[in-house]
Symmetry: C2
Subunit: 182 residues, 2 copies
């Protein structure tokens, strides 16, 4: 019998501006097998970027980063470490904020997130922090220097996970998520 | 720096008969992002079956079982436990036989298998043994009763892994595979 965890969806977000990775809250996300239609990361395939040093840049690869999720508890820790009042999920380009799973980033690849609608997501592993979101945080707190670099350190193992869709469906705030481990 | 392992491809196999899961050796496999073109498990999506009790049977889901791999060392152990001279990968419907990674079945989901051609596969977790291959083995050794049921037990945690393709390319016998862990 595989181990089960539960968590709650606090917020769902998508990218309103395709030129930016920053997200904004939505009443729900209708996901299909390629991700969130119209979203910046949508697609069954994607181009290899700096996250994939094992492949030539620009090569077509399977898209395992269709969505990203963060934990509200981990974001609070990052904010505390940075000495700022809040780190908003919008600034990190997150699509889902979970509550009740404080160690979300440590969730094993292959873990399955199941939603009341029947939607299913697969954890594709930790989302490595990079400077982009740090620069967005810096822009929010111009009076505090060095936040962009500090973010990469503070967010290590706390920046959440990447996910791909296994089964289509609707994901909404207040959904209770069942998480099954391998 | 993620941990690295290496292994060697002993044999590559595909399904010559779409009505059967049994495989036969080939000089190589040209994989694309949906698997092995023309093979029984080919597709970006698949129908949920009994391996996916969390979804209604027949629902369209992402195909995370495009290929399966077994280890020659684990197959030898299964044969020893069953008291038969050999368990051939063809009888299990395997697409790849690896040598040099005795604990292949324990490989973590998310581990990446990289090939000299540039192809990349993702480990999608353990392949759970079922009676189908056991019945094929039984048919090979009709003088030994009870092999179908015994196989399920003997092959537990030794039946190899399911894989999906991350980057297209050619996979050939004698390829050295680099395996990177998360």
């Amino acid at each position: 019998m595989p181990k089960r965890l539960t968590a709650t969806i606090l917020v769902t977000l998508t990218t309103p501006d395709p030129a930016s990775f920053a997200t904004a809250g939505t009443p729900g996300l209708q996901v299909d097998l390629a991700g969130i239609p119209g979203e910046r990361h949508y697609g069954m395939t994607a181009k290899a970027d700096s996250r994939y040093p094992m492949y030539p840049r620009g090569t077509e690869i399977r898209n395992r980063r269709q969505l990203t999720a963060v934990s509200t508890e981990e974001l609070a820790q990052v904010a505390r470490d940075l000495g700022v009042p809040v780190v908003r999920p919008e600034w990190l380009g997150a699509n889902l904020v979970l509550a009740g799973l404080p160690d979300l980033t440590r969730l094993e690849a292959g873990a399955r997130l199941l939603f009341p609608s029947g939607a299913g997501l697969i954890c594709e592993g930790e989302n490595e922090p990079c400077r982009g979101p740090g620069e967005v945080i810096q822009a929010q707190y111009p009076q505090i220097p060095g936040l962009a670099a500090a973010f990469v350190k503070a967010a290590q193992h706390r920046r959440g996970i990447a996910l791909s869709v296994e089964r289509a469906g609707l994901i909404r705030p207040n959904d209770e998520v069942t998480i099954t481990l391998l």
